[in-house]
């Protein structure tokens, strides 16, 4: 019998984590944001509980500003997995017409952070799976796999439970909840190598193709629909680009690339000298910004 590879061990760890949550938490839910990490997480969940479908719903906290291709894949994967898909849009953000062009960080705060809290409260979910990885960002590197949130969804980095071996303490008081990160120990490269190995469907935007784009503040943005307000004299230019991460299309920068399939993406990544979050406007504010957002309840 061959010895286990790094991906074998990461997969086994993730399956173990998901099964512990289902065994110990009353109402789990899986945050599904349609990106590559969500794709891997969903794939792992299907493996963990086969031949049953994963015994929890998928939750998409929608901002209404995702790429159209993301909505397509989301609906397809939910149908294929046999899981319930819950879509939540923050009614307040909707009523106020919050959008990434006019409202800056308020957009993320209302649609994503507040929207997430509303959806979790509404469902009474005790545990929510998220696809965050520790290699993404420095405060994530210090977050536990089972990460506790107060009744108001706050994270207290200085008061985290010690997490030894693969023993997780999932006990919580009424009103508290747990965010669980089964991909904690995966790196971006691991995610892509696993997508290739397991042939997991991902949004086509990760692969290079000619797309209508404009450049703003050093970021290449894709004009994904006619809500994109072009500035005076701004004309979309067709560039061969792809995305390393996917979020709201007006906030997600593309990279110029010819990597149109998985082997070339992986090769490109091995040679890459910038991190995936470079393309995310949300993380750029300052070194402590993610930590602050998490304390406020962001995933």
């Amino acid at each position: 019998m061959t010895s286990l590879t790094d991906l074998d061990r990461l997969e086994a760890e993730s399956l173990h984590i998901m099964r512990e949550v289902v065994a110990e938490a009353a109402r789990p839910v899986m945050l599904y944001s349609v990106g590559k990490d969500s794709a891997v997480m969903l794939h792992l969940a299907r493996k963990a509980f086969f031949p049953s479908p994963p015994p929890f719903p998928l939750l998409h906290v929608d901002t209404t500003w995702k790429f159209r291709a993301m909505y397509d894949l989301r609906d397809r994967m939910a149908a294929e997995s046999g899981m319930q898909l819950i879509i939540h849009t923050n009614p307040e953000a909707k009523a106020r017409g919050i959008n990434p062009f006019d409202h800056g960080s308020l957009h993320t705060d209302l649609w994503k952070t507040e929207g997430l809290k509303q959806a979790l409260d509404a469902g009474g979910y005790e545990a929510a799976f998220g696809g965050a990885r520790r290699d993404e960002e420095k405060s994530r590197a210090k977050e536990r796999i089972f990460s506790f949130r107060s009744a108001s969804h706050g994270w207290d980095p200085k008061n985290q439970r010690p997490e030894l071996w693969n023993l997780y303490n999932a006990r919580i008081a009424n009103g508290e909840s747990i965010r669980v990160f089964p991909l904690s120990n995966w790196t971006e490269l691991d995610v892509w190598r696993y997508i290739e190995r397991e042939d997991i469907p991902v949004v086509p935007l990760y692969f290079a193709a000619p797309r209508p784009t404009v450049t703003r503040d050093g970021m290449i943005l894709m004009v994904d629909d006619d809500r994109f307000p072009l500035r005076d004299g701004e004309v979309p230019v067709e560039r061969t680009v792809r995305f390393r991460t996917l979020g709201c299309y007006p906030l997600t920068g593309a990279v110029e690339s010819d990597a149109a399939d998985l082997p070339s993406i992986i090769a490109e990544m091995r040679a890459s000298t910038s991190s995936e979050r470079q393309g995310r406007a949300i993380d750029h504010d300052s070194s402590g910004s993610m930590e602050r957002k998490k304390k406020e309840g962001y995933f």
Partner: protein, 611 residues
């Protein structure tokens, strides 16, 4: 394909640990341009290396850490070469963060111990090595750092290496690779250094790529699968899902299910949706068995010929990880693999002085203390000594009130306690005492909320028994606190001691042939179980005086609920301290349906039937 190595780095304050890891990440291209830009910016703003890049800032991720220039929490870092992927647990050096070190060491295949070339072996060096050894790490690397500051002197390096080896072998560490390094200059980190031609060993990275992994040893031992959950999508499929802790398994293998001891044969092994036919340690699989046997979460499926032990009393090493000290005798949740039971810890046999290895006298364990104590569980555990299995020998303790993880423990062996304690043989036996009184001794243990009616019913029961010519004695909570237990207050520790003493007194009285009646709130299952365990089989009769909180509060005969609601009484059961209802009391009295008189009669009838 690469495999995976997990290692821990530990050292004292200022020995250049973060710098060394930062260098390792940087040289393995795990630090990217935009992170480098942020790092350069941060280095100028808060760094400690002037205009140079402060690699330490790469790993100190929390705002508090950057402000104070220290590492508070375990940080996990990732890098890879063609041969291996690495997960680094970077652990802070300060003594007060022992719990983080233990956390990082719990999953490590290898430990990198850092030693400042100008300082030599320090208390912290010994402490960390000892902790890693305790947590089962077998491979050690001694990275002597800051060699540039001692002019790359071979004699300095060799002196430190010899000092360390002498200490390490004294505590049982025998696999040590010593490497002279400089994190700032990258000497012997990712590549061999020209500055130390006298050193003929490997660079750190080279060693990490080739060292044998501890977790491979697990595959060579007997098969064990702690069952996480049972998968039952329909009547035709019943699968047992879990992560294989050790050994290998193939379809057709005979297996034994613990603790029941039933045997069966492996029918299918699923890895995801694939039938794989065989599995090995480290894989998360789902097994099906050829026959229908009872098996659920917490059970362990094991090689039939070599099953693990089952016991309920152990000796264990315990690392205390929270501000609230250990309360000997108190019930904690104990989680081991997929088993969760209630456990009590005895007063420690000794605490360990981690720097010297000395055994110290201790009555309790406080934050970051390590001690050896007896652990008693309310149900039998399937286990292996920690030295053989981290999965079946490692456990955590969880506070039942706060849900905090308060300790980690490592089982040494099961105690055969009954064989070790010798009682003074008494000529007039307990049976003789009972015979003379013409009755069967018993302890009627009343439990319920304050104001539930325990004392009232207990009084009536004693009057009725007395009238029937029975020899009885009533131990009342309030009365006992005026005498025997007047030195005890209402802290958690004192409440446990209160119940323990009452239990012991009740036992002596039962030995004397009496029917003992006790009326105490006794809110926790663990402590009631402790009393039950003290008594002879069948002698403990648990009587649950079941009065809903709202009803007890309405009666509030002593005015205590009003005080508790007003915040004048802390830790009041039912208000800010929980009451754990008995799961299967011998007698269940619903006081909303029964009058005290009827309730007392129910008990008398029960005793009649019992004889």
């Amino acid at each position: 394909m690469p495999d995976l190595l997990r290692f821990i780095t530990c050292g004292s304050v200022d020995d250049g640990k973060s710098t060394l890891i930062g260098r390792l990440l940087y040289d393995c291209r795990a630090v990217l341009d935009d992170q480098m830009t942020a790092l350069t910016k941060d280095s100028k703003a808060v760094g400690t290396r002037g205009d140079q890049i402060d690699f330490a800032l790469l790993v100190d991720g929390l705002a508090a850490e950057r402000e104070q220039g220290i590492t508070i929490d375990v940080a996990y870092r990732y890098f890879a070469t063609d041969k291996r992927s690495f997960i680094v647990a970077d652990c802070p050096g300060h003594e007060q963060y022992t719990r983080n070190m233990v956390t990082g060491a719990s999953t490590a295949d290898l430990a990198v111990i850092l030693l400042d070339a100008r300082q030599g072996v320090l208390t912290q060096t010994r402490r960390h090595s000892h902790l890693c050894h305790l947590l089962g790490v077998r491979h050690f690397v001694l990275a002597v750092t800051k060699m540039d500051l001692v002019d790359y002197d071979q004699a300095e390096f060799e002196k430190h290496a010899a000092d360390y080896r002498a200490f390490a072998s004294s505590i049982g560490i025998d696999e040590i690779t010593a490497i002279p390094t400089s994190g700032v200059h990258g000497d012997n980190v990712a590549a061999k250094s020209d500055a130390m031609p006298w050193y003929d060993g490997p660079a750190l990275l080279d060693h990490l790529e080739w060292v044998e992994r501890d977790s491979d040893a697990a595959a060579a031992r007997s098969f064990r699968l702690p069952v996480q959950l049972v998968s039952r999508p329909d009547a035709s499929f019943r699968g047992f899902a879990g992560l294989i802790a050790s050994g290998r398994v193939a379809t057709g293998d005979s297996v034994r299910i613990l603790p029941s001891g039933k045997t069966s044969t492996v029918a299918r092994i699923l890895l995801g949706d694939a039938d794989v036919g065989e599995g090995q340690a480290g894989q998360s699989v789902t097994l099906t068995l050829a026959t229908e046997v009872d098996c659920s979460r917490g059970d362990v499926i094991a090689a039939a010929a070599d099953p693990p032990e089952v016991a309920d009393q152990f000796e264990a090493s315990i690392v205390w990880m929270t501000d609230e000290p250990l309360l000997p005798g108190r019930g904690y949740w104990l989680k081991l693999a997929t088993q969760t039971v209630s456990a009590t810890i005895a007063a420690p046999k000794y605490a360990l002085a981690v720097d010297s290895g000395e055994h110290l006298a201790a009555r309790t364990l406080e934050l970051n203390d390590i001690g050896v104590a007896e652990v008693t569980t309310d149900r039998a555990l399937v286990f292996e000594p920690y030295a053989n299995s981290r999965t079946l020998g490692g456990f955590i303790l969880v506070d039942k009130l706060t849900n905090a993880t308060v300790a980690a423990g490592m089982l040494h062996f099961a105690l055969r306690r009954a064989h070790n304690i010798h009682w003074q043989a008494l000529d007039v036996s307990r049976e003789a005492h009972a015979r003379l009184k013409g009755q069967k001794p018993a302890v009627l243990w009343f439990t319920g909320l304050s104001g539930a009616g325990k004392s009232t019913i207990a009084n009536l029961v004693e009057k009725k028994l007395h009238a029937l010519g029975r020899h009885t004695f009533l131990l009342d909570g309030d009365n006992v606190r005026h005498g025997l237990n007047k030195d005890l207050g209402f802290t958690d520790a004192d409440r446990i001691e209160n119940v323990r003493r009452v239990g012991e007194v009740a036992r002596l009285m039962a030995d004397a042939g009496l029917i003992v009646i006790t009326a105490f709130i006794s809110p926790f299952r663990a402590e009631r179980a402790m009393v039950k365990a003290m008594l002879a089989d069948g002698e403990y009769i648990e009587i649950f005086v079941d009065t809903p909180l709202a009803e007890a509060e309405k009666r509030d005969a002593k005015g205590l609920y009003a005080k508790a609601r007003a915040g004048e009484l802390a830790n009041f059961t039912g208000i800010d301290s929980p009451y754990e209802e008995p799961e299967s009391p011998d007698i269940h009295l619903d006081t909303t349906a029964l009058s005290p008189e009827q309730a007392a009669d129910t008990i008398i009838e029960y005793l009649d039937r019992r004889g």
